[in-house]
Amino acid sequence: MMNIKILFFINALLLLQGCAPVAPWERGNLAKPHMALDHNPMRSALRAHNYGSREAAAGGEAGGGGGCGCY
């Protein structure tokens, strides 16, 4: 199971290398603030904190903090 996932990841990596590059002057749309992958970091932090204290799958991301959630 795990091996398949890693293979998929490496495959995806290789595939992406083959993409036709988008020239810098064609990236106007991508540069819009609402196209940022995390377009609202403060709200993401709030959501992550709430989900993290209510669900078991939190973590797996570099960072830290967030408290115990021991209630």
């Binding site: 290398q17 940022a36 797996g60 991301e61």
Partner: protein, 857 residues
Amino acid sequence: MAVIDRCETGLCLRKAASRSSGLQALTAAALALPGMLSSGDAAAADSEFAFQQSRYEEGKRNLFDAKVENPIQVDSIHASGKLSLTDRIKFAFNFLQDTWSGATPMSTAPLAGAIRPNIPVEREGVVSGASPFFQRTIQFNENFEPLAVDPVSRQTLGVDKRAVHVMSTASPETRNQGDFKLTYEWDELALDLGGGISIERDYESRFVNFGGRWDFNQKSTTLNFGMSYTNSDTYAIIDHDAQVYIENTNEGSQFTQAFRNQIKIEKGDYILQGNREDWGVNLGLTQIVGKSTVLDLSFGYARGTGFMENPYKVMTLVFVDPDTLEGETRGVLEQRPDERNQFSFGARLAQYIEPLDAAWHFNYRFNHDDWGIDAHTFESDWVQPLGSGWKVTPHVRYYSQSAADFYSPYLLIKQAFSKAVFVPGVGITRQSADDSVLPANFSSDHRLSGFGTLSGGVSISKEFTKGFTLEAGFEYYTHEGRLKLGGGGEAGFADFNYYVANAALKVDLDNLGRALDFFGDGHGHHLHHHGAGNPAGLMFAHMMDEPGSFMVGYQFMYGRQSGDMLNGSSVPLDSTIVENGCSTDIQCRFTPKFMNMKMHMLMFMYAPTDWLNLMVMPQFVDMDMNLRELSGRPPPAQGVHEHTGVGGHETGGVGDTSLSALIKLYDSGMHHLHAGIGVTAPTGDVDLEFRRIVQEDGGLIHFMMQLGSGTWDFTPSLTYTGTLDRWSWGAQASGVKRLQDKNESGYALGDLFQTSVWGGYNLTSWLSTTVRGIYTVQGSIRGDFNKFNGRGGPMDFPKNHGGRFWDLGLGVSAYVPSGDLAGNRLSFEWIQPLKDDVNGFQLERDGALSASWSYAF
């Protein structure tokens, strides 16, 4: 943007984009792609200040008609800032605070109960029966299924396999977190180093992280990596009410030795201690896959070791005697594995929808760990700009997880807990079960059960002027066993829901500066402020006289009391406090040892004309206090929660909100006079209570630990300021008049009058100092608590509030007159008490610190 200057292709772009500063900014950001994209910073500037407030409130749990205490609610604030120290060095910091109180599940028990049922009993119209608790006797059938029994007739009603939560209520508690990140950026590479600390009464966590990104393939591809290390200590006081029912903390029990060497007994409190370490690494790849599409893939691994338990969760053990089929329940602290390895895979897609100028975000995440939990998360945001700076973002999310291998709502053990047996040669003796009947790990924390969640919400934001944005959002979340992917989730007893409402303010300092340049009317950097060098702790002293100008500000105040107890101006003996500090009927048993008060205040100020300024100031406060026992105190009174003083107590949340207007009365350039007229709205709670303990109400928390006045208050002020060359001076008289006789808890704080006189000197064009003399007089509290209060000491009696106070304020203030950060002002003031003459008996003040930041545009 330095990037433009370094990029050859940028030159032609800049020419094409020179028609509008907005397009210029956008193109500049495009060239920085995708590194900034992947780190989530493209939406934000290099220099930014943001503040967010939120409220989390859970719906009531299903306790099958038993009395439901108020569910948990959390008030949070989050302040964050980013600064470009140089073109290449960036600094970011966050401060977060959560304050929560209310009931949460502590254990789970079978609903059926033979003698003391877990549901209330109605006899002749009167409902009786306690809240669900985990020590019960239950009848089983031969298949070991629990049987419901009519509590009145004792007749068996049939199989009832339902379970129910056992709830535990907490007094208010606060968590503070501070963290930072320092980033160094090269043209195609960036490295960052960060760290922080999270502190709550029962948990302290310290963390460091290191990460970076590498752009290549003409910045079409970015590789991200990160790693983190966290070290956390648990210091949990076991619930007083439950302690004797938990085998690990019951001194008379021989059932288990688990955790006994980690439990410290201090002043009657059982404190469970533990340490855990967490490591995390992740690797990510961001790829521009088209003119309108960005894809991000990531892989993460996290490893935790040590004390991974939730110290407040208790597993209910049901011992069923196979001979009699009678079940008897016991509670033990949950036991989780000492190790956890988690893997995650995530994919994020951002798709630009050209005809609507919208962005569609879709995220998927898969998590797998060696506790047996597999989880899937699907999340989607649609960000829709609506013109005029408005933006609306609907959001939907689905999450599903399988249960941990060791999760069970309760454990059924097919033997008697204690049984009389005949041993040849010894006779009849009692044999008790020991913890060899238990599995290695077990938990009834429903966060480890199988369930699904569905949540959705919307947020709306409005950019008022380039770089100044307000936002409000709402989210509803439901957790249900039956929402689990593929079915098989936990039964309905564990279902719950919550909502979160948030409001945020963002100031993008780079863009504000740009906007001001763009207007080119010369006003931007030369706003005229009266009293710009005022002491930081002074309110309503500063006025803007350019019509249409805005100011945003943030003020932090910290005050501490930890000196001697005072009676008037003298220090009384403990015996005097015992006799006279409370009332004629009640002797004092406790007195404050120290108290800390922190306040975060936001300021929004607008000048519609040159003679009028309008201000709104929301506040967020938090307090903590410790008590000490008075020597010669009387014995404990019946039915009163006595603070042991081990952990102290805390409150916090939204405080009162000030609304006011400043009106210019006279201005000659050198001399300036203005009046302030305002009210304070009672948005802070004044009905905070201690949790119920030993079946007794904790009652209302002390007057000064409540979050507001609870009354509408009138706040007039009169301010004079003068300036000549490098010198400035001023005087202010201000007051607070309560407009109501009492608040919802039955009392009104005393009216207050304050005068300040100060002088200041500009050391340089940007740095000034002030010296201030302050006199404050405040009346004692009128009325009294109209609900139960423990009446433990002077802090619980109205007469021991207010007084006459003399202080000296020493301040320093820095103003940025030009450059990228022009218009920013940062000031500090230390208030040193000179003399206290308190009403009744009060704790002496140590001093107070004010720090304020403001920005006018």
